[in-house]
Amino acid sequence: MSVLRVKFKKAGDIRYISHLDMMRLFHRSLRRAKIPIAYSQGFNPHPVISFATALSLGTESFGEYCDIKMEEDLSFELIQERLNSVLPGGIEILDGKYIADKEPSLMSIVEASSYRVIIYQSDFTEKMMNDYLESFMTEEELIIERKKKKKKRQRYPEFKEVNIKPLILSLEFEAIEDSRIVLNTTLITGSKGNLKPEDLVKCFESYIGISGFLRDHRIQRIDLFQNINAPKRNLLE
């Protein structure tokens, strides 16, 4: 039995389904595509598929990855063709290859995500944005509040302060289009830390003292990377 590693996109309306629903969708699509996948042992056998990292509901992605354990090795091209013909609109298998059994899991290798963040604002000029971002990025510490994991029998959540500065690898202003600001950012993802682009935007908002960026926003994950030091490699490279 071997493992197929695939890269796929999740864009358009399908971004509104949760990670759990995504997994169920993959199980059913693989079955519909008649792809011979391996099943787990036990009372309720299920397909063995693992994703690199969860994608928040509402976020689009052009670089998601998962490992699929196969019962029988079909060529990637054939699997891609069959799966793409049954997957719902917006989800598409982009690339893939068989990996060696001993290869580390996606979850253990992912270190960073790159995003395109489109936020709502009408009064900013390009110059203002560039200035704000420049000074934001020179700060040593950028503190946000995060909910702590709930303990047993705890009724109200506790908060802790986190410095997100080390989690921001890059943050750049791209353009203002139709009163929407487009930013590009690369953030730490995986076992060494995690920063959601929404939290970055909230932190930036409070830094410059405004609100409303997330009123009608759109976030696109561009890709996932396995080493944060140059040269960056995505999870298939």
Partner: protein
């Protein structure tokens, strides 16, 4: 008009409820060129998407080149608030068109406590409640489903009511509409006149109960429509699996059961067509489970062969087979062992009453020794979870019958203890659920009194005390919902104004404990001068005219009277396959593959 919702989706729970892009969805370009039908389910997405009838009609209508059918569900509270705050109307999922854009809105009436949701959905769609207030521009409102067998509480809201099985009738109604529109002769009045004589159609504005309306039946299920593909939701819904209907009707004739009467006669699909349907549906959905649907699954003539076949073809794909509605008396140990090979499922039994005397009264022909034997076999097979369903408040019920429920449960526990420890599973869990009996139209108990709220609480309390045991979990419903259900079930046209008043005071989602507001219902009855207890707690005489007398279910009133007498005498009636009890359904009907 298309309703904009993309700016709302990130602010509601489970936005996938509103996307309308599920696997196997149908979308047609230029929707205005079709006869537009909105299939409206007056409950949440999760409930509505589990309904097989919707799946059948949705695909059947959309297979027709002149019709475009879309879905509408009751929005959850968060979405409703956003729609109202932003002054946007309720929309259909496929094209996001508002309700007013449709030619027809068809509501399915699955349970009485969904009636206020119908009003809420019309209100959200800016469609007037009363048929008399709607203009030529407004959509026509069609009602159907089991509760349409007493349509009177909703009659003033409906333009058309479909009585019986809807497949053919709906197509005939829509075709008549299309023809009139094409010839440019259409007026609402002309149209309603034209369709009122279609078998199974009731037009409340033209018939105030003086003309008999006969129910519609699909004679041969093998020739009636069943979809090759069904909608597969992204989010988890109540029945998240392939549901395959194996037959309609029920052999058994339980005297409390409305479904057992109104869906007569028994008509089976052939095993060949079921095999083909199962293959198509599993291939086209990717579901991991198939469930057989009917009122009493083990009564299907070739049930063993069917299950063996389904298990055989699905084993390597790890697709499970589940069987709801199993009866105790012909439950086969071998069959259950087969099913367990793929996926473990729970075991559910419905003895309905606690003593043999009362089970004879209701004609539930299940014996205690069968139940205990089956429970024992289940424990030996490794089951440690069993669900038992009962009703309280059945006609002639005494405290002895109530205590009989708990005695029966403890006998099941004894069976478990009788098995030596190493041979039985650990952690026995018995879930006992009681529902309150509500007399329903077209059943032998339709004249009976429903027990009062105080009495419901008293009987529940007895069981609560008796069933306090570490192995037992006792579930019961709030008795107040049963009172309102009882009033609406046997209600008349006077109740439409109560429905509006209750809705306007804030009643909706009455079937949900967290939404149900009993005091508002009682206030609405008082305000409209309705003595609601007369509807549910008063015993009716055989001579008294009933609001649903003009609806002909095919089962004769004389038969219902005879069955009521036999119930009083504790005489059971055998199932239809063993001997015909002359209910009347065979009078003008001969099934090709069934019992009559």
């Amino acid at each position: 008009m298309k309703v904009k919702i993309d700016d709302l989706l990130m602010h509601v729970e489970k936005p996938a409820r509103y996307l309308g892009n599920e696997m196997n969805v149908v979308n047609k370009s230029n929707p205005e060129e079709y006869i537009r039908f909105a299939f409206a389910f007056p409950d949440t997405y999760e409930i509505g998407m589990s309904h097989l009838g919707m799946q059948i009609l949705y695909h059947m209508l959309n297979d027709d080149s002149d019709i475009f059918c879309e879905r509408v569900f009751a929005p959850n509270d968060d979405m409703e608030k956003l729609l109202r705050d932003n002054e946007r109307p309720l929309f259909a999922l496929e094209t996001k068109s508002e309700l007013k854009d449709f030619d027809f809105i068809g509501f399915t009436l699955q349970y009485e406590l969904s009636y206020t949701n119908i009003l809420n959905m019309l209100n959200l769609g800016d469609v007037p409640f009363y048929a008399k207030d709607r203009t030529e521009e407004d959509p026509l409102i069609i009602l159907g489903g089991p509760c349409a067998f007493n349509p009177e509480p909703l009659a003033d809201f409906a333009d058309i009511v479909v009585v019986g099985e809807g497949e053919d009738v709906i197509l005939e109604i829509l075709k008549a509409y299309g023809t009139l529109k094409e010839k440019e002769f259409y007026t609402k009045e002309k149209f309603l006149h034209e369709i009122q004589d279609i078998l199974g159609v009731y037009v409340p504005s033209l018939n105030h109960g003086e003309k008999l309306v006969k129910k519609r039946i699909m004679e041969d299920l093998d020739c009636s429509y069943f979809p090759k593909k069904i909608l597969v939701p992204y989010i988890d819904v109540v029945h998240n699996r392939v549901v395959m209907e194996i037959f309609r009707g029920c052999l058994r004739g339980c005297r409390f059961c409305q479904a057992g009467m109104i869906y007569r006669p028994v008509r089976e699909r052939s095993i060949e067509s079921l095999k083909a349907i199962a293959k198509d549906l599993l291939d086209n959905t990717g579901y991991e489970e198939i469930s057989l649907s009917s009122l009493s699954t083990s009564d299907y003539t070739e049930i063993e062969e069917l299950i063996r076949h389904l298990i055989e073809i699905n084993q390597e794909n790890h697709i499970g087979v589940s069987l709801p509605s199993l009866r105790l008396d012909n439950f086969s140990k071998e069959l259950v062992e087969e099913i367990q090979k793929v996926r473990k499922t729970g075991l559910t039994f419905a003895p309905e009453a606690g003593t043999q005397r009362l089970r004879d009264v209701i004609n539930k022909n299940v014996e205690e020794k069968d139940l205990l034997k089956t429970a024992k076999e289940a424990f030996q097979m490794g089951y440690n979870t069993i669900k038992l369903y009962f009703m309280i408040g059945l006609p002639t019920e005494t405290d002895e019958d109530i205590l009989g429920i708990s005695e029966l449960v403890y006998k099941v526990i004894d069976e478990y203890h009788d098995i030596p420890k190493p041979e039985r599973p650990k952690g026995l869990k018995i879930t006992v659920s009681t529902s309150t009996f509500v007399p329903k139209p077209h059943t032998p108990f339709q004249w009976e009194a429903q027990i009062s709220l105080e009495e419901i609480h008293r009987r529940q309390k007895i069981l609560k005390e008796k069933l306090n045991h570490r192995y037992i979990k006792y579930n019961y419903h709030d008795g107040k919902t049963s009172i309102i259900e009882g009033v609406l079930a046997r209600g008349d046209r006077n109740l439409s104004k109560v429905l509006v008043t209750a809705y306007e005071s804030g009643c909706k989602f009455d079937g949900w404990d967290d939404h149900f507001q009993y005091h508002k219902w009682i206030q609405a009855f008082e305000k409209e001068g309705i003595a609601y207890k007369d509807y549910c707690e008063k015993k009716r005489s055989f001579e008294e005219p009933l609001p649903w007398d003009f609806i002909d279910s095919g089962v004769r009133k004389e038969y219902l009277v005879k069955e009521m007498q036999r119930a009083k005498d504790g005489i059971i009636t055998e199932d239809c396959r063993t001997s015909c009890s002359g209910c009347g359904i065979s009078h003008d009907f001969r099934s090709k593959r069934g019992v009559c």
